[in-house]
């Protein structure tokens, strides 16, 4: 990597030089140090640096004087001063004379990283981008969204389209349909992929905790808070904030959240500093938000801010043709994880899996396969390895030939949809002509 940013640390104290040099080395920078102003100038004459950290107080030539001399060699030099508390006044003076910023010893590691990153970004935006591109090879890792049904193909297209924008996305779907995977896929294919995707489960936390989770808190904000906590809004800076179960947020937090979405500013709990953050929002819910808005339990303004682009995930029972694909995918996954030579499902097991109604959707299917993988023996999973729930109620086992099963199932779907052909065909994931053929083939009749 020839584009690694270079840093020169100038300090007369060996321990400061050494620890900063080490810190920057581990951060992947090209770093050297000098123990005096004269030494620093010598080194800069040989090679300019992207960033120079100067101790403001050194014997001989002090930081202020060195700053002037450095600017004579490299007028565009980016300089950050290192100060002790006692020398803050001179640091402010240095800023007036063109220093980029200053840090006070001992410095908070997070603050140091930010100041350095900001300085470098300002100086060489291009280099920084290059570095990020270099270090990340596969941005959009293949995620566990599996499917070849028309519904899923359409979903992949939607993800692709919306990922390239910075629009707020609302993902709707029953629990277990993989809403978080979709959120991650959107992030992984967006321009924000070099920054984190930060999930927040809004449903699982008490109001006070959710507030601290989102906004962070200052040391001493409440009993037991001995250290500052970084909230999810801050962690998501540059990236994507994924608000799961967004329908469960309390009235107060809804208001706070709305304000952040509008202003991109917030304060930590117990703090005064106004912090800026820049993230994209992807949210998900399986509740009826429209109803909640009508009932007044969900703010209408927040609803409109979140529901800009909506993606609906189909329940598994509406894309049955994907079930064998998914089942085999999970078999492969757990075979690898458990180091078990299972290669697939025996026909009777596959039949049951395809027939079952999967109220818990893909997650339930994955759990069922995982469990069967524990019980089963290679090479194939048997029907008896599957969890017992499949044998009762909605997923009752059908016996007979494939034709018998198909006939029974088509009848069931038609009845459920009151013989609405379009809707039934959609649920069966076949076109209307094919459905008419099947009705004809099995001699099915609409009850009069």
């Amino acid at each position: 990597m020839t584009n690694t940013p270079s840093i020169l640390v100038v300090d007369d104290e060996k321990v400061v030089r050494d620890s900063l040099t080490k810190w920057f080395l581990q951060d992947g920078y090209d770093v050297e140090s000098a123990d005096s102003g004269a030494e620093a100038l010598k080194r800069l004459q040989v090679r300019k640096r992207d960033l120079i950290l100067l101790d403001i107080k050194m014997p001989g030539m002090d930081g202020m004087e060195l700053q002037q001399r450095v600017k004579e060699i490299d007028s565009g030099a980016t300089i950050i001063f290192i100060t002790a508390h006692a020398t803050i006044d001179s640091a402010v003076q240095a800023l007036k004379q063109g220093a980029f910023d200053y840090v006070t010893k001992p410095v908070d590691p997070d603050y140091l990283s930010h100041v350095v990153a900001n300085a470098l970004r300002q100086r060489t935006l291009a280099i920084e981008n290059e570095r990020m591109r270099d270090s990340i090879t596969s941005a959009s890792r293949a995620e566990e969204i599996v499917g070849e049904s028309p519904q899923m193909k359409k979903l992949f297209e939607l993800i692709d389209t919306v990922a390239k924008t910075d629009t707020t996305v609302m993902i709707r779907g029953e629990s277990g349909t993989g809403k978080e995977l979709v959120a991650r896929a959107i992030h992984a294919n967006s321009n924000r992929r070099f920054f984190p995707v930060v999930p927040v489960n809004c449903g699982g936390l008490a109001e006070g905790l959710l507030e601290s989770e989102l906004f962070g808190h200052e040391r001493g904000a409440f009993t037991g808070a001995h250290y500052r906590r970084k909230g999810k809004l801050e962690l998501a800076d540059g990236g994507t904030l994924f608000l799961d179960e967004v329908g469960n947020i309390s009235a107060k937090t809804q208001m706070d959240l709305l304000r952040v979405l509008e202003t991109k500013q917030f304060t930590r709990v117990g703090g005064n500093d106004v912090l800026r953050t820049d993230f994209r929002v992807v949210c998900a819910t399986n509740s009826d938000l429209e109803q909640a808005v009508k009932q007044g339990t969900f703010r209408e303004d927040l609803y409109y801010r979140l529901n800009v682009f909506s993606i609906v995930l189909p329940p598994l029972r509406e894309r049955r043709s994907d079930i064998p694909l998914l089942a085999n995918y999970f078999v492969k996954k757990y075979a690898l994880q458990m180091n078990k030579a299972v290669t697939g499902l025996a026909p009777d097991a596959m039949e049951q899996v395809v027939q079952y109604s999967w109220p818990g959707n893909v997650r339930e299917l994955e759990n069922a396969i995982e469990r069967a993988m524990v019980l089963g023996t290679p090479p194939m999973l048997k029907a008896s390895d599957l969890p017992f729930q499949m044998t009762n109620e909605r997923g009752r086992i059908r016996t007979g030939t494939l034709a018998d099963i198909e006939r029974a199932y088509v009848t069931e779907v038609l009845e459920r949809n009151r013989w609405n052909i379009s809707r039934s065909a959609e649920e069966l994931d076949i076109d209307r002509v094919t459905l008419y053929h099947k009705i004809d083939k099995y001699g099915l009749k609409k009850p009069s």
């Binding site: 620890s19 810190w23 992947g28 990340i136 596969s138 808190h217 037991g224 970084k230």
Partner: protein, 182 residues
């Protein structure tokens, strides 16, 4: 031969709780991992003005005490439960010798209770695991990575440790293989 990774537990965390860390170190570095008790003389590295312990001092003790014996290819990772610092920074979660033999990780700031949150043993163990893999990674010569899920991503807040994974991204793993075969 890649040598053995010795986990020196001076943290008071019970051995059973370090099982995942040991397994993960083995999985990531393909090296034998051994767990030992560890009793560094922390009074020698205590800074009364900061009420913290100088991490470089702990590393030096580990080197002095232990490098006399053992395979030079071995790595030593010390676990302590006191708050560590290096002079320019307010604190560190750990310190490693880049391309060296020793690393130290503090469990002190990894506990939820310190942030006024309910204790969570699973999160605590995950954090130890990630920080150990991260610091050992430095001893093999790996530097920080920008991949948001890579264990070599730098974390300056515990919440950032939680966001990353405990495995190396493909790029870092590739580098690791190169560095370990040198």
């Amino acid at each position: 031969m890649s040598g053995t990774i010795h986990v020196l537990n001076g943290s008071g965390v019970d051995t059973g709780a370090l099982g995942a860390t040991v397994r993960r170190l083995h999985e990531v570095f393909h090296a034998a991992v051994e767990l030992h008790p560890f009793q560094p003389d922390l009074t020698r590295v205590f800074d009364p003005s900061r009420s913290q312990y100088h991490s470089s001092g702990v590393l030096k003790q580990m080197l002095d005490d232990l490098s006399a014996h053992g395979n030079p290819a071995d790595k030593l990772i010390g676990l302590v439960d006191v708050d560590l610092f290096i002079p320019v920074l307010t604190f560190v979660y750990g310190e490693a010798q880049l391309k060296g033999r020793c690393a130290v990780v503090s469990t002190f700031r990894l506990r939820n209770e310190l942030y006024g949150l309910p204790p969570n043993e699973r999160i605590f163990r995950d954090r130890i695991e990630k920080e150990c893999v991260h610091e050992v990674g430095h001893t093999y010569g790996l530097v920080h990575c920008r991949d948001t899920e890579c264990v070599m991503r730098s974390s300056t807040y515990v919440e950032e440790i939680d966001l990353k994974g405990s495995l190396m991204c493909p790029a870092c793993d590739e580098k690791r293989r190169g560095l370990m075969s040198d």
